[in-house]
């Protein structure tokens, strides 16, 4: 896909997210919209090695979503990749649905591990990376998606230490640095900065990207695969709710969904954009 096509695809993913959340009547809007570009870049920008026709392919990369509550964005890219029918997206969070409120690996192909309790994903990614790199000497890559807020949890730093100690260069962590969590701005709730210096001190290579710039995201992912002897952290600076003006930047939208009227406004907003996501960081 060209960059232009990727941007249009991300816009479609955002529309799906709004429609899913409207239908589900609960879920997480801000983070899901904010990471739509990263998810699109990973799955449609040639970053993640995967084959929806062979979900058990031994050569595949592993994708772990540690901040599992933003799974609507993941479900949408998986459906558009062909793991399951797009129409199934509307069953999100409903009784009997494969699309649980937080992902269940036994129900959705393409999801490697179930999640929902923060900070467990990075450790799981470490186990996968250790298995591939140290035990099997294979070159499968592990993509660990995390959030800034979950770095309040001590386990994140336990995992960061372990990856640094073992030089797990086959992990790329992409942190959704959107500066919000449920109770407010991350730096008010529990200051996280300086994140770059902290991770560097733990033995990681750190890259900063505009999380809404396809070219930058893809470029950083490719760069991370060229870093040896160190795991890489890509800090993706994102805008929570990106693409829907009345959701953007508002932590009150972390765990809230649009009502019918708001969803109409949001979809209209996204239609007008037609893929022209403009980043505040430009």
């Amino acid at each position: 896909m060209t960059i232009k096509e990727l941007e249009k695809k991300a816009n479609t993913i955002r529309k799906d997210i709004i429609e899913m959340l409207l239908e589900a009547k609960s879920g997480h809007s801000a983070g899901s919209l904010g990471m739509a570009d990263v998810f699109t870049a990973l799955y449609f920008g040639g970053v993640v090695k995967h084959d929806p026709k062979k979900p058990d392919w031994e050569e595949r990369d592993m994708v772990v979503l540690s901040n599992a509550h933003i799974c609507p964005a993941w479900y949408a890219v998986l459906a558009h990749s062909g793991y399951f029918p797009i129409k199934e997206l509307k069953t999100l969070r409903k009784l009997g649905s494969n699309l649980q409120g937080h992902p269940d690996r036994s129900k959705v192909l393409g999801i490697e591990t179930s999640g929902g309790s923060l900070a467990q994903g990075l450790s799981i990614a470490c186990g996968m990376a250790y298995s591939f790199n140290k035990l099997d000497k294979k070159d499968n890559w592990v993509w660990a998606l995390t959030s800034d807020g979950e770095h309040d949890e001590g386990q994140m730093w336990e995992a960061a230490m372990f990856a640094g100690k073992n030089k797990l260069f086959n992990i790329t962590q992409i942190m959704d640095r959107n500066n919000i969590q449920i109770d407010g701005y991350t730096e008010d709730v529990m200051p996280l900065e300086p994140l770059r210096e902290k991770y560097e001190a733990f033995g990681w290579h750190v890259l900063d990207v505009d999380g809404h710039n396809m070219e930058e995201i893809i470029d950083a992912c490719n760069k991370s695969k060229a870093i040896f002897e160190k795991p890489t952290l890509i800090i993706a600076h994102t805008i929570p709710g990106k693409g829907v003006d009345f959701i953007e930047w508002k932590y009150s939208w972390h765990g809230k969904v649009p009502c019918a009227e708001e969803a109409d406004k949001a979809l209209n907003c996204l239609r007008t954009l037609d893929g022209k996501i403009k980043s505040e960081h430009e």
Partner: protein
């Protein structure tokens, strides 16, 4: 056919030690040694077996595996939450990981990780709680895991094992490594009598009748099984015929054997080195309350924390020895 099956469980086929009732004559070794031996044996059989340690490699006996297979031992430091989730990642990549530390830390400290990443995720992770029970001794309450059975058996998908001596622990470790799915294994710190033999059968999910009787049944797990046998032997001399069941698999429990023994004797004493609330005895009561209501007395820690002391002293103070089991038997028989 039904009859034959019951006979298969008969103590005569259990091949227990000939010195079963001679505590002084029996060799004593801790159950955790069986874990160490089991891991080495598994490591030889299956190259996918890996062991994780959290700075307690010696006392969990993982150093024996580390010595044999240094490339398959992973040191995570004092980080039990990280350890269990790394084990999950290894399992999802085709390995058979054993995450090893004390029961107070795993599944104690990392219970949320066990719940979500291990149990809900239904991954092939084995995790062990060494130093379970007040028998840990001098380290005191903080290090005496008394709740591990309760907090693992309430989780769907998990198999919970509490083997009775070193030899059985070795068999349980190997069986855990050879089955698919999450397994919790519970061990004790102290050296306890080895009263089963290499020929004693072991199968996950199959309780064993170690002694036949007709007046009352003692259902026990872990090293307490031997105390139950000693109590039974003494009670026989007083004219009370006691059946002893080794209930090593707390989940999934062998309901058939439990119901049959209750039907046969009509009175039950459960015995374990664990809180009575939520423990193995509670699990037995759940089965019998529904299927075969029977009077039950429960030997275990009675809603209090442990404390420092010598193992033998503590076992007496907390009422976990043969003498206490005998008293419970006499009490429950009156309720028949």
């Amino acid at each position: 056919m039904e009859k034959l099956k019951v006979n298969m469980n008969n103590f005569k086929n259990m091949n227990l030690s000939k010195d079963l009732y001679n505590k002084e004559k029996l060799e004593k070794k801790p159950t955790r040694d069986g874990y160490g031996h089991g891991l080495v044996e598994l490591g030889k059989k299956n190259p996918n077996v890996v062991v994780l340690g959290a700075d307690l490699t010696g006392s969990t006996r993982c150093d024996w595996f580390r010595k044999e297979f240094p490339d398959r031992f992973i040191q995570v430091g004092i980080a039990e939450q990280n350890m269990i989730c790394i084990a999950v990642g290894l399992a999802l990549s085709g390995k058979v990981p054993f995450a090893s530390t004390y029961s107070v830390f795993c599944p104690g400290r990392n219970w949320d990780q066990v719940r979500i990443s291990v149990a809900y995720n239904k991954v092939n992770v084995k995790f062990t709680g060494a130093h379970a029970g007040v028998s840990v001794g001098a380290d005191g309450a903080t290090h005496q895991g008394l709740e591990d059975i309760a907090i693992t058996r309430c989780l769907p998908n998990i198999t919970v094992l509490a083997p009775c001596d070193m030899i059985e622990t070795q068999k349980a470790t190997i069986a855990a490594g050879e089955m698919e799915g999450p397994v919790y294994l519970r061990f004790a710190r102290e050296a306890t009598p080895i009263f089963t033999t290499d020929k004693t059968p072991f199968e996950i999910g199959k309780a064993q009748i170690f002694r036949e009787g007709k007046d009352i049944s003692i259902i026990a797990c872990g090293p307490t099984v031997h105390e139950a046998l000693l109590a039974a032997d003494e009670l026989e001399k007083e004219g009370i015929s006691v059946e002893v069941v080794n209930n090593h698999t707390i989940k999934p429990m062998d309901e058939k054997t439990i119901i049959e023994t209750a039907k046969k004797t009509g009175a039950i004493v459960t015995a374990e080195d664990h809180q009575v609330m939520g423990g193995m005895g509670s699990a037995v009561a759940e089965v019998l309350g529904k299927n075969q209501p029977t009077p039950i007395e429960m030997i275990g820690v009675q809603d209090r924390f442990g404390e420092s002391g010598g193992t033998d002293e503590l076992m007496e103070v907390f009422g976990l020895v043969a003498k206490n089991i005998k008293e419970a038997v006499k009490k429950v028989i009156k309720r028949k």
